[in-house]
Amino acid sequence: MNRRIERHRNILDFAISSLLRRKGKNLSLLAVYAFIVFIIASIVFFTQALKREATLLLEGAPDLVVQRMVAGRHDPIPITYGDKIAAIRGVSAVSPRLWGYYYDPFTGANFTLVASDDDPPAKESIYIGSGVARIMRLTTGVHWSLRGAKGTPAVFSVQKILPGNSELVASDLIQIREDDFRALFDFPLGRATDLAVVVGNKVEVPTIAAKISRQFPDTRPILKSEMLRTYDSVFDWRGGMVLVILSVAVLSFVLFAWDKATALSAEERKEIGILKSIGWETGDVLLLKSFEGMVISLTAYLVGVSVAYLHVFFFSASLFEHALKGWSVLYPRFGLTPVIDPYQLCVLFFLTVGPYTVATIVPSWLAATVDPDAAMRS
């Protein structure tokens, strides 16, 4: 038993020294390899963490949101619809939501204005998200003038800045009183942006949505499950653009590795010939080559995954920031609760380590089965 381990260690020693002999080539290969693993693992960590956060947070969202459509466009919904919806059996509460968008022409940022009757700010005061405070350089107590729908400026005092750890939910929010909201936007009385419906028994939600749709054919109910599914598809790293980028990355790596590994230099082929002529068996040569492959791929995998974890959860995925920002002026800064999904990491392991190992072993196997004399002479 001990002898077999010793033999394996000897071959491992030899594999490492043979890798060290071609230091430049192998170090550059290792760096590219680790980088690819790093990028993919970062995407996996980031999207998984956001997905989990979205799922847990959206549990607090309304069971059903009912919007009115006129000529295929969203239109404020009469609050009287809410009373009739509340009368549907199984609906435990209906409350109008009043929210809209405010575009600030100076910074070019878009803010979301929300009026809520739960813990509202004082008259002519607002609560603002930390993103708003950051971009508009506002502090508590400061006055801020918004441009109203009639062109007249409306001055609000900042009563509270929402805590920094709520940026994922409220970075661009401005919470305002309902009467201030209606005055600012000249929003029609008796109407709301949409209606939030709470259903007692969650199983009944689709039935109630169908009932609402039948009773009010000009409305569109949006289920909480649909909201969740929207976020699931937004963060689905196997879909869309991410898939395209990833397949290009993986494909080019496979080609790169194949090229590096298959182009057995004359020197390497000679080496295999010598090893065979001094009595190594084909199995030993293959073990040597697979150790060479494993040393590279295992190191690259572990380094790539660890650095990706640090990148996403300690440095807030700062490399992706530019890509995620797009053209938005206000970019929420949020920390993510780490999520490690062993299944995804295993898939990643086999996707990156597999092709490389095959690419190193196959050509060596072809070379190792050749007559040693011919190999040395070639």
Binding site: L58, G60, A61, T219, M241, V295, L302, F313, V339, I340
Partner: protein, 98 residues
């Protein structure tokens, strides 16, 4: 020292770092509970239905509320005008007002 010892030490260190990271994940998850609860409370209080991720346009700020005349709208990240539209299938829900 033997080459293999060096290598095994390296792998051992990397594995140790990885375990530390797994530990970190477990600890932060426990600590993140308070933040999560307060955020969920804020969401419930303001009856929000979306996360604040992309503030560029209405349908990226509130993807769940965006009008869903076509499947397109369900994926603010989708590239329908390009082949990936064929890689990603539209979600199977559709409920529309006329």
């Amino acid at each position: 020292m033997r080459n293999s010892t060096w290598f095994l030490t390296l792998i051992g260190t990397l594995l140790a770092i990885s375990s530390l990271l797994v530990l970190h994940a477990a600890i932060s998850r426990a600590g993140g509970g308070a933040r999560l609860a307060s955020n969920r409370e804020l969401l419930r209080r303001l009856k929000l239905s979306d996360l604040c991720l992309f503030t560029e346009a209405r349908y990226t700020r509130h993807p769940a509320m965006a009008d869903r005349h076509a499947a397109f709208q369900d994926h603010p990240m989708a590239l329908e005008h390009f082949p990936s539209g064929s890689l990603m299938s539209p979600p199977d829900f559709r409920r529309e007002a006329p």
